[in-house]
Symmetry: T
């Protein structure tokens, strides 16, 4: 049986649906988890869906994914812009990594334009709200299949 | 009947399949046009698929899309990083705009990290090769439907 | 009965009274907690007073304060200058936020001059040692009353 | 009979009246052409009024103006901020050059504050909407007369 | 009867006609005052024409203009590039403000390229010598009329 | 009898109550003077309360305070960000100096983030409107008492 | 029979001989074409000699040269400093590329010091007037011969 | 009996031996712990050897070392470049601190060149793989002896 | 009879002898005036010796010196680093200008390293305390004599 | 008889042929000297060919060339990027100066992109290996002849 | 018999023991030479120990070491921060290179933080006074042995 | 008998009188040596007057001056702007150091504005041609006398 897809979410994403809905929409993180799982199922994958406000915990989940996942989707939240530790953890991952963001980070404050995850991701999907995750599952599934060929 | 999706491609993308295949792969732009058209068809859209090496021509196609398209997918190529004119043209477009890139621009030279298209796009899909376009058609179709609701 | 005031303290503030007393003085964090509680009591508020060396824990306390506090006083310590995660958590807080610092951060190293908390705080009180907290309770009490009018 | 005044307009100015009217107003470029022609006539000049989205075409019109015009008024649009080619073409022009802008570029995005046309223009008129062109014709007429004395 | 137009001039402009005539020409400030008054009269306005070398005095005249003027024309001289105080005073002015310069500041030293007045002015007229003031009276008269409509 | 507290206010603060009330509120500077005097009286101090639009006058008042004041509260207004002369004058003052601002300068334009007063002040109180001054009197009174011990 | 050498010239170079002769000399572009052809003939090569003011047209000629030329000499004119599109087109060229400039770009304005062509050229010849082209033909001929060995 | 030496390791160092062996080698962190302990024993010291992916936990271990260690060796991993909290914790430590890195951080990405640990360390040993730790124990032992004299 | 030498002093120099004597020494400005007058007398010159805290007043004295002085010595104090107005006033002066500083500004804060007076002075004498003025009188006398030859 | 051409070579060029042959090729400096001499002879010039690792010695040879040479070819090696002294020495040379580099410095590290020699050279020949010198002799001979006309 | 270790010292290190002992200590360079020789002997190596104030001489010694040394230890002194020539010479060295510094350069002036030697060294040992050299001999001996295996 | 004054001159100053006389005048370095010696004699000092084009030699002369001179006057020439080695050598000198320049370095190229000598000199005398040296001898004599008191 194939390995699952890890979908990892960074700080404050647990507030989704209540925090700044004009930027992030009203869908909750649980809703997104369900959407991602449904899409993954259609491609024959399970999803491991987690959220943490702790940089160190995200690092450890990425290390775990390194051994147990078929691919990683990551929304680093605020750590996207500050965490060299997450960058380093992702560099050690051999399976494909897809970076997602709900909102278009390039229309927000300057300090959100730089991502430390991008240089170690295969690709990015940015700005489509909850649909970013669905598209990411899609994209990741293709990458896993390609790699398997 | 619904308006078509415009898929616009910037300079040197006509070389696709021969230029630097280790970065851009061996698929040609015509292949990508076919893939995008097929995906669009599944969503009930026609595709207008064009490529130009001229900044001014791209500006004019965007102006045309402003009146005739249901949405725009744009891979600005090199003009992504230098063209305020394309930025301005896209700002005048009311239908959704999706930016695509074949390769992950954030793992390449520093001057490719900044996009003048991102601030006027709804979202970005970056780094999945030809599949970036397919995912973009998917994403755009959802945006058009949402807007129609 | 009214909600309490949350007073949150960042990394290394637990060392207060022993670490670099020529900069931070000899008062301990517990002493400051008592002073803040006494001042708050005079304004009719309880104080929830906490310290953590973990960015993620501070994020979670801010998320908690978002639901349970009448207002927040925060001394982010070193995370003041580096944490976008705390910045984001505070942005989601609707009650007033006051930033405090014991020492004048503008007379210290350049990297301490920028605060990521300031843009999401109502105001700042900086440089008065333990008295910064007492003044902050005072200031916050007024803000809460104003908002209540 | 005296040479005409060339009034050259850069990319997207053909959208005038429909694009972002809160910034640029509802007057069309044709309206502005009429206003400029009327004002010029009062000073005894014809106007050659053109718009292009192509940098190279603007370069060529400036080269033409170099030989055929009594003076040049130019609104470079987006090329104002990026085109060394237009800068170079204008440097080769011996008759007076006046730079115009409809909106106040200094209250907009940072990348619009720098003009590559300014260093090779005699003067600038910025921020008065369509009236910028009328004032520019006025200013240019005086410069031509002075030079003729 | 309508309010007058204030024309305010910054430091060293009293030297006009003698200082660096190759840059500023031989016309004196009094000559310019007369030209501005004549042009204003044609539009039905009186002119209050003043010069000061003191930043604080300019601030106070702008505060006065805020109450007594139909519009303001300002050549901030050297304070254009350094005075946040003048910037703040102009921000409090509700009637239209036009910035003028005798010479083209963009062909001079780098530190003259940035104006702190531009972001709080309606428009700029730069580089036409004494005629900059005449054009500014013209431009301002139109702005006042528009606002009156 | 003890020396008074000097409360010094920089340019445009005389407009308070009318200028940009959405930023600065509707309280006038005279109102603030009364509030500060009342609070000072409770601590046994008189207040010398002044405002000037002239950098040089502020420098001279600081020089006067150096000899005659028990402490200084200063809202430098626009000169906060540009005046090395005020910085130097404050450096020569041996009694405690407290910097105040009505609004949170860190949520405004970039050029208001840097204060030349902060490095020579004991502490800052920023963002609490008129209450900033009351808190500053409080803070200053404590500093004076401490110094007296 | 061997392939020709492409000599491509950017914007405003058609003005050569008339524009700013103190910088560029009095030789026309046609003269230079003749000199280059003569030198090439001595090495057994034909020359395809072109000039365009259009970035897109230069891109297309480079794409053509990619298939039809034995080597490329390019004077990008103003596009040297701004065109990522030309940079990308040249990167796709496998035959040797030599960059030329008539004048010493390093003694001119700062913005002319950076060339986007240099990183994708084999070598540069700068500052020798029309002779730069003759030397470039010489240099290119050697490179072609070396490659042929 | 003398206090032990604390050897603290930051994020992702637990992957040592498997992650990017071409940079970090095949020795595991446990191997390094043994080498450090053996070298320390030769100098009469015990070693407390720990690794954490959590910034806050590292801060707390440094606070512990402050009271219980004879000296500290720290490889901050990714936190070396981002953690002001670790910097602050180390500043409060009175016993000698030695910074180590396995690889030469100055031949890697620019963002790894700056260390926030260096300014609060006595010395650095960089680039000798596992041997960096052995040399650091050596260096630290000398520093402890010197201090004891 | 020859014109006098103007010696102009900027803000806070009136505090000399009391302010920060470890940097500026204990000599008063009056003492320096006497020393300068004595030295000037030896060269056959009178001295006009003034101090102002007002930028505008300094500008006006320089304008006066332009007509009445044989040469100017200026210690701009804090305005050295911020005043474009004084820079402009000095540029209009045809007689020689010598810049002086009591202390070595290059060993103090970064913002004191740049002088806006230096580019419009003939020479500088920096760091010799009161003797800087005596040397400046000497230097200026030679410059006046040379010019007279 | 005519003066010789000086060909001066900076630090480490004596290693040519052994150091990093993938960048610099296998030709030795002596070989290049022979090639340059042969080419010069064809133009009727002798060559003085030297290499030094000492900045001061290169300065002195340039001073010597100032009096004795018909022209100078210089490959400054590492001093190209750091030596103001060589820059100054070359500025004093009235005969033509040609800068050469074996490799394309613009495809190497950023700190090799800036040349302090370029602003004081007539022209540059970069990237053609040993042939750079032959072309430089050619170019220099033409310059000397032109100057002689 | 094995080749010796070269220990090369840059400018002003001959002053060691007398210059700024609070930074560099009282040990002389000769003492350090003896310590290094003793340590090297224990590893079976001779030491060639030299000091020069001349950049060119250091370059030549590095070139010599390239052929004659088993490894190089270098304290570049001031040239560490400015010499591209030494950087280039070290790049041509195939045996291991270790950079040493007596004091912690990262706690000194900003311009001492960047080393041009680090990118071409295997590793660095910084801040342990004379012991830095002993540790460097140790480290180098290991590197030589490893390379020999 | 008292120690002599060392007057040290950097690269290219031996060309004085012939190189760029419009900047440096026609006086030779020998003339300046005579003028300095004469002035020194009047103060009871001998002068040791030297020039070198070698950074290392200047370092060594400064080291010599450290032991043998009563004071040092240094015109670092081009090394003023690049030599950390000279900076370090001067830091080790306990007798007073005066920096001189013939021309006003602040009216020349940007890279001449920064001096690495200024931070380690007592004072500077800049821009008075040969007279800079005479004034420097004067200034130095006073400093030596003060120190002797």
């Amino acid at each position: 049986m194939s390995k699952p897809i890890y979908v990892l979410n960074g700080p404050n994403l647990n507030l989704l649906g209540s925090r700044e809905p004009e930027i992030y929409g009203r869908t909750t993180l649980a809703d997104i988890g369900d959407m991602a799982a449904a899409e993954a199922k259609a491609h024959g994958f399970e999803v491991v869906f987690r959220q943490s406000n702790h940089e160190g915990e995200l690092v450890e989940w990425i290390q775990e994914a390194r051994l147990k996942a078929a691919g990683v989707i990551i929304n680093g939240g605020a750590y996207t812009h500050t965490s060299v530790a997450i960058h380093d953890a992702l560099r050690a991952v051999d399976v494909p990594v897809v970076e997602v963001h709900l909102s278009n980070i390039f229309t927000r404050e300057e300090f959100r334009h730089r991502s430390l995850i991008s240089p170690v991701a295969k690709g990015l999907i940015v700005g489509f709200g909850a649909n970013s995750y669905v598209l990411a599952v899609d994209a990741l599934a293709s990458l896993i299949e390609e790699a398997a060929e």
